[in-house]
């Protein structure tokens, strides 16, 4: 399944990039992300919980940054599986940032999701919609995070 979407946040490009590229900050914006740990500069381990009505699951993921051109492009490969290996998922994502004014950044992404196992069998149409909902929640969380950072920076006189 391919998911293509874009959205605009109210923050300068450099700051948006710094939040997205900081694993702890970015993970705090991912809906259902329970933990993230840095393996090295380009590898991270994360645990993400996802639910769809009565169906609840937890994925153990490894995120690899395969390409990066600061401050406006990153490509990541995310692979993981549920506990018990009932389903596995791999996601190739390309993310690009474009300045849309002094205080606005356009974030465009393209994800190619492959899901195998019980959840893959269940229906990718529904999973795609769920992913879009999660995407919107991520955007809302990211904006909140950026607002908080800008407020702190302003308070610090920066």
């Amino acid at each position: 399944v391919k998911i293509v979407d874009e959205f605009t946040v109210t923050a300068p490009l450099a700051r948006t990039w710094s939040v997205i590229r900081d694993p702890q900050k970015a993970a705090s914006c991912v809906p259902g992300c329970r933990s993230v740990e840095t393996i090295d500069e380009s590898h991270y381990r994360a645990v993400v919980e996802v639910s769809l009505g009565p169906i609840r699951t937890k994925f153990n993921l490894v995120v690899t940054v395969v390409e990066e051109r600061p401050p406006d492009f990153a490509a990541t490969m995310t692979k993981g599986e549920e506990g018990g290996r009932a389903s596995s998922v791999s996601v190739m994502t390309k993310l690009s940032l474009t300045s849309a004014g002094p205080d606005a950044t356009l974030i465009a992404y393209e994800s190619d999701v492959t899901m195998v196992g019980r959840l893959g069998n269940y229906g990718l149409g529904l999973m795609k919609k769920r992913a879009q909902t999660l995407g919107r929640e991520f955007v809302a969380n990211l904006q909140r995070r950026l607002d908080a950072e800008l407020a702190t920076a302003a308070a610090d006189g920066g």
Binding site: G53, P54, I55, G83, Y122, G123, L126, K128
Partner: protein, 291 residues
Amino acid sequence: MTEGPMLFSEPNTIDEAITQLAADDGAKCFSGGATLVAMLNAGLVQPTRLVSLANIAELQGIAVTPDGRVRIGAMTSHATVARDRRLVGGLGLVREAAAQIAHPAIRNMGTIGGAVAHADPSSDYPGALMAAGAEVEIACPHGRRTCAIDDLFVDYLTSALEPGEVITGVVVPAPMPGERSAYVKFSRVDGDYATVSVGVRLTWADDACAAIRIAVGSCGPVPIRVPDAERSLVGTRLDDDALRSAAQAYVDATDPIDDLRGTAEYRLMLIPGLIERAVRGALAGLPGASA
């Protein structure tokens, strides 16, 4: 995610059932099992306990209340609803929907309470009951409440039921003189989930539409009603132009998924024709209506 066996119990009262559900986070209600057992088999859900509602008397049967409303107990099978001759006129769509759910074996097994609680927007009852204007009776740990069915469906497979709450029945408003209804389902093959479904309940009086509810199923996270479009039809003779513009409002309000039953685009193309078919079907036989 549990190790060890799944427990099973069959309480005799709703209070006992709620106590058992409240005592175990991983417990689930078991009504007919038509969907739940399939999900268990597919490994999609792993409850620690199934609390069967089969022995609870108040969940059984269909009854007409003194004011003419029809109360369908939560454990009433689709087959029983499909046979009930009291569900006619404005209530006929509930019977038509029940009769079109899957196959006879599943209609003997599945229940209205289970189907409503599962909140699958592509199943037949949710849209039909929204068009019928039904209310849902709910037993909670601290008593009873009712919920308009429009407020019950929240998202795909997600209802407004809180943990530990159990649906005890579905109540459909009394049929009024001049009321008609229809449920139209478009599916790839007989017995499949709907690609698109439409339920309509309307009142025809003085040669015009006096009231109408239309719900479109299988085209978004919950069945869709567009009250403005419904209002635009009141006072009309439900002629082609009026229906066409109302149907367009429904197309604009829905957000279907692509799946093996049809692409989102295909579903949107089906909506106007199915709304027209449902309305014409409801009007059929009414003197003076442009069916």
